[in-house]
């Protein structure tokens, strides 16, 4: 392959993409903002005095002109958006591929992102195909009176169903990754929350559209990892469970497989439910001619009823959780490598039958935050950063191990993704505990107070995995 990839992202995912490019023998270029100058995704590749410099400073990760000008100047032929930023922006994907100097967008085709990247449209398409979705609006609401009337209707419906603590969710329609979502317990609170979310949505996403949905309780949040090619091949790499999330609905612990009977006496047949959500996910993927990696997000109620939440038309942070329970020719696949290869036009080269699932895996998102104060981000300087090394674990991070690192306040304070895997859920839980106990992170904030991380929270939640 002679393609050259521009990595339009930051942090650990930028490093993982760079390594995947190296594995495939592809040249690549990084971009970075001044706030990220000390990050490993920059330091490893910055050599400004050399003609082989691979890291270029831009004003923002969300300025498409910046990305494209660097891509043209460095003669890149493809753009990998990673996750977040432009990864689910169909306009960006369209602009990348339709221009005087067209580039390859490493992700689904822009038409597919348009159809599925928007959760409202996804809901509409899913409803047409008979795939269950969460009760609520399937179009963005811009009018406060209309929004309140819908919320009132959803509250009344829950009252009729005798739901103990009825509530509705107000979501920024253009949001994602758990950002811009608030829960309302009483209709009287609705207008205030609606205005707050609308204001947030306008500022963060440039669109004040809001979705209103019933807030389901007592559920598990599952994901189905699909990998598809430009040649109509579609396979899945198992299911994941990401029910343990911060108050801001950001994932913190994720495990695979999605359910395991050793963890909880489910009121339903877990394998049947997992098979059902995989079947529905593949049905929707086939309908929209999905052609790259993607994650189908599901809510499964205590009685086993699944509801499609949304589709993430990009590589997911937790892609490696799926890879660590999957085997292709007796080896764990690398889904980022698969994503790049398939986006560049390769055929898959294997079928579903060749993918074997074995064992279990947990991923911990290690974040500098105060979990006791609403997961409040912690900013300061890290002075010591050490992770254990085992043959059953992996760590992905942009934080340097050998020098102090100031956490930039412009982005999430994610420090690392720590993955452990094993033969079964019990073994992997035990390994997870041991791994978390061996992590050393030291640092101080501007007031001299020691660093706060979510490691105690992660430990506390290991036993809650895969439970209702």
């Amino acid at each position: 392959m002679k393609e050259k990839i521009l990595i339009a992202n930051r942090g650990e995912i930028a490093i993982r993409i760079a390594e995947a490019c190296q594995d495939l023998g592809l040249d690549f270029v990084m971009v970075y903002t001044p706030a990220d100058e000390d990050s490993e995704h920059v330091r490893r590749y910055l050599d400004s005095k050399s003609t082989k410099n691979k890291a270029w400073r831009i004003s923002s990760y969300t300025d498409s002109n910046e990305i494209l000008s660097i891509a043209d100047y460095t003669k890149c032929t493809a753009i990998h958006p990673g996750y977040g930023f432009f990864s689910e922006d169909f306009r960006f994907a369209r602009r990348v591929t339709i221009r005087n100097r067209p580039l390859i967008f490493i992700g689904p085709k822009w038409e597919v992102i348009r159809d599925l990247g928007d959760k409202i449209n996804t809901k509409r398409v899913a409803n047409k195909l008979g795939i269950p979705t969460i009760p609520g609006t399937d179009a963005p609401i811009y009018n406060e009176m209309e929004a309140e009337a819908i919320a009132e209707h959803i509250f009344e419906k829950q009252k009729i169903q005798e739901i103990a603590e009825p509530s509705v969710l107000v979501k920024a329609a253009a949001g994602g990754g758990g950002m811009g979502i608030e829960e309302v317990h009483q209709l009287e609170q609705f207008r205030r929350v609606y205005r707050q979310i609308q204001n947030y949505a306008k500022r963060q996403f440039g669109d004040g559209g809001v979705l209103i949905e019933q807030c389901l309780r007592d559920y598990n949040h599952l994901e189905v990892q699909l990998v598809c090619s430009r040649h109509g091949e579609r396979v899945y790499f198992g299911t994941r469970n990401c029910t343990i999330q911060s108050t801001g609905r950001q994932k913190r612990v994720e495990a695979a497989p999605g359910f395991d009977s050793s963890c909880f006496p489910y009121d339903f047949n877990p394998q049947e439910v997992l098979d059902k959500i995989v079947k529905y996910s593949l049905k929707l993927a086939s309908h929209v001619k999905y052609d790259n990696v993607g994650t189908w997000e599901w809510i499964v109620a205590r009685d086993g009823s699944p509801y499609l939440l949304e589709v993430n038309t990009r590589i997911q942070v937790e892609n490696d959780v799926s890879a660590r329970i999957s085997y292709l020719k007796k080896k764990h696949p690398n889904l980022i490598r698969e994503q790049i290869r398939l986006a560049l036009g390769d055929k898959m080269g294997y079928s579903q039958k060749k993918i074997k699932f074995k064992g279990a895996c947990i991923e911990f998102r290690v974040v500098a935050e105060d979990t006791r104060r609403g997961f409040l981000p912690w900013i300061g300087t890290i002075s010591r950063f050490n992770f254990p090394q085992h043959e059953w674990s992996a760590v992905y991070t942009h934080v340097p191990f050998t020098r102090p690192y100031v956490i930039p306040s412009d982005y999430d304070p994610n420090l690392a993704l720590a993955i452990v895997w094993g033969a079964n859920v019990d073994e992997v839980k035990e390994r997870g505990r041991r791994f978390l106990n061996e992590i050393i992170i030291e640092g101080k904030n501007g007031k001299g107070e020691p660093i706060l991380t979510n490691i105690p929270y992660l430990k506390d939640n290991i036993d809650n995995l895969l439970k209702f």
Binding site: R57, S69, S409, P413
Partner: protein
């Protein structure tokens, strides 16, 4: 505030009555300069500041030409001629303009010592709260009174919005030191609040600088 302190500051500015403005490229692109070293440049002018200053350089990116104009009248004290015609990254320092300080700037600097500063609790981006923003738009900044407990700002930190409540003496928002959406360092002043009893001191500073600074 003591007269000696004002004297001290005025002396400092008399010794070097110039300000320096560094111009950094706002984005990537191919650069073309329109001025030379030691050349005199003019800043914004016109009754409504509608006439742009001297064109300093332009950046060509994605088929678009983005010119940068001088914001202040002065002299080009340094310029990166070695970059002419080359592709530059964002944030590259390319030109420095030296300009004579204005009375307003000196007054503002002295007032920083007089006004009660409301400091940034964290390194973050700040926005006025919806209520304060609408009051500023309606009545003007210096007519907005703030009291302890008022929600005055929204702190945007790591994609999270947190309301910031005012703590300190009641007063009017006299000076705003931050730009909405631009990151401010921790403990940097965001606002200069003027309590009612300090209005005579402020008037005194303004009169003194106006009288003594040519």
């Amino acid at each position: 505030m003591k007269d000696t302190y004002i004297n001290e500051i005025l002396e400092k500015y008399r010794a070097d009555p110039f300000g320096y403005i560094d111009s950094h490229t706002i984005h990537t692109g191919r650069i073309r300069f329109f001025v030379k070293k030691d050349e005199e440049v003019s800043g914004l002018s016109g009754e409504w500041h509608h006439i742009p200053g001297t064109k300093l350089y332009s950046l060509h990116r994605e088929g678009n030409e983005k010119p940068t104009f001088s914001k202040s009248s002065g002299i080009v004290s340094s310029i990166r001629n070695d970059l002419e015609g080359k592709f530059v990254e964002a944030g590259e320092k390319v030109i420095t303009i030296r300009y004579p300080l204005k009375k307003r700037e000196i007054i503002e600097e002295i007032l920083r010592q007089v006004l009660a500063p409301f400091k940034a609790p964290e390194r973050a981006k700040y926005f006025f709260s919806l209520d304060v923003q609408s009051r500023i738009e309606k009545f003007g900044q210096r007519s907005v009174m703030v009291r302890p407990g008022d929600e005055i700002l929204t702190m945007s930190l790591m994609k999270r919005d947190t309301p910031i409540y005012y703590q300190g003496e009641p007063g009017i928002i006299h000076s705003v030191y931050f730009q909405q959406g631009i990151t401010v360092e921790q403990d940097e002043p965001l606002l200069g609040i003027c309590p009612a009893d300090k209005l005579p001191v402020i008037q005194k500073v303004i009169t003194r600088v106006k009288a003594e600074w040519e």
